[in-house]
Symmetry: C2
Subunit: 317 residues, 2 copies
């Protein structure tokens, strides 16, 4: 963004709910724009007001249908809603994921809903740095609930969990997901399990599997026992139960002080990701300059060892 004087205007308009300004700000985040620190400073006072829900699960469990129904239910009770669909695999925006968004078209004309796909293109520190900033933009724009949806692969779902107040893990019957969930360590990140497509055979077995696995872990008196909820999003069944479980979790978070703990942990992850991204880009600019080049020449000549060179490099940052 070339004219940084635009930032206060953009933030002011986003605060009024102007969707184009919101879109513009999230694009700045996604592209790792140099104006980001200014954007973050302008948004800081509005931080922490939205409830952030993470939604993850394997491909095919019905994530976008579920998101769509959750949005509908939240709109019914008058909440302003933001949706971030995070694609950890794509270096491009949208693409495959935008296809799914077609199912949410009914919400695109609703000024109370903001829907956006995001990739990690450009942003230093990847999605772990970009996603919290996008959440901040949506918070600033007055969203009361923000759904962050990502496909359950690799590191992305763990990052979503560290970002969310409440993490929902979607499963579907008969996909071997219950066992998969344990393997992937998803048990540790799920606050709520949603068994979607519960009208299919095997839903009860999946329900019992999950309950059984949850029963195995010991829990202290103040600890949260993950809820297991059956739903069939495509028929709009069970969505109220999911939201009831979310409310129950939020009450638990507040009552036990875990709300503040999670928010601070989230901020720590965010600050750390930004700091590492900044350091990486500073080192990158030393590469173009002379510092790293000179040090590397000394290392290549055997006059300096690489650890001593790295220390020198760090001193120069």
């Amino acid at each position: 963004m070339s004219r940084s004087r635009d930032v206060p205007t953009l933030v002011a308009r986003a605060r009024e709910g102007d969707p184009r300004s919101v879109a513009r700000l999230i694009s700045l985040v996604e592209n790792g724009d140099p104006a980001l620190p200014e954007v973050a400073a302008a948004l800081a006072p509005y931080a922490g007001n939205a409830q952030v829900l993470g939604l993850t699960g394997s491909p095919g469990v019905g994530k976008s249908t579920t998101t769509n129904e959750l949005v509908r239910a939240l709109r019914k009770v008058g909440k302003r809603v933001g949706v971030l669909a995070v694609d950890p695999s794509s270096p491009f925006t949208g693409g495959a994921i935008l296809g799914d968004r077609v199912r949410m078209q009914e919400h695109t004309t609703d000024p109370g809903v903001y829907i956006r796909s995001m990739s990690s293109r450009g942003q230093l520190g990847g999605l772990s740095a970009a996603t919290p900033q996008a959440v901040r933009v949506l918070e600033g724009a007055g969203c009361e609930v923000i759904l962050v949806e990502t496909v359950g692969v690799g590191q992305a779902e763990v990052e979503i969990a560290s970002l969310a107040d409440t993490t929902l893990v979607l499963l579907a019957p008969g996909m071997g997901d219950a066992i998969q969930a344990v393997k992937a360590g998803v048990l540790e990140i799920a606050d709520i399990f949603v068994i979607n497509k519960s009208d299919r055979p095997g839903a009860d077995a999946t329900y019992r599997d999950i309950q059984g696995m949850l029963g195995l872990g010991e829990r202290g008196p103040g600890e949260w026992r993950p809820q297991v909820v059956k739903a069939t999003a495509v028929k709009a069944e069970g969505v109220e139960d999911v939201l009831a479980a979310v409310d129950k979790h939020r009450d638990w978070l507040s009552k036990t002080g875990n709300f503040a703990v999670r928010r601070e942990r989230r901020a720590a992850v965010e600050v750390e990701a930004i700091a590492l991204g900044t350091l990486r880009s500073r080192i990158g600019s030393l590469r173009e300059g002379t510092a790293l080049t000179t040090l590397a020449a000394a290392v290549a000549a055997g006059e300096l060892d690489p650890y001593a060179a790295a220390d020198e490099l760090i001193k120069g940052l």
Copy 2:
């Protein structure tokens, strides 16, 4: 390593070619031992003496058989040889890759050959930081040629290329590898293409495919045109041709000044990886301390924006 006074002794013994000391030093590298800077300082004077060959290719093209035959041919002319088999996917040492090493058993009793499997376990900065250090250990131990072998998947082969003086990309006929190579951008890293299993049908077609693709790229007068060599390692055929191509490439590197350029670029990548690893671990220790915690609390409360907090964090490093 608890007693750092052992480092000078270990390095001195490795210099004399004691295989147990070499093994111990590479284990320190692999585990990211706190004594690493001391090890690197002790090895620095001996840096840059070995010729480093990178060897990559898809599973099944015959990497370990080829390595085995290259080792045999190099031993015949009296060279001391080191082999690093790098497994980018495994969090553990050895494992699957060690199975392949059985084919190299004939060399295990030869004091002029050192063979080692490596994983990225523990090392900050992953294999991009660990592999150059292991190369330094082998250089210190007097290896004149070091073969670094990795399976051609994802980022690892690019890292191997940035580490090697000469990069060999192995293909096999009829695997669609010629097309794959272009897709994966392997054309840019290969100094030499080895079409292994050349006794199989389709070897000539693969040869022509590669030559055709190389013909497409424009080359300036001082630029290297990748060599294409046919071999059948399992019958020890074509191995001399591969080594002749390696020698030709080394001559080109020296004559054009590219040798020094590659060595300095390698050192730059190495220093950068170590510096980022150090910074990441310093931030990690701030997480346990109070700095990051205090900053995160201010961010969570909306009193500070995350970019300002990240700047504070960096100042405290």
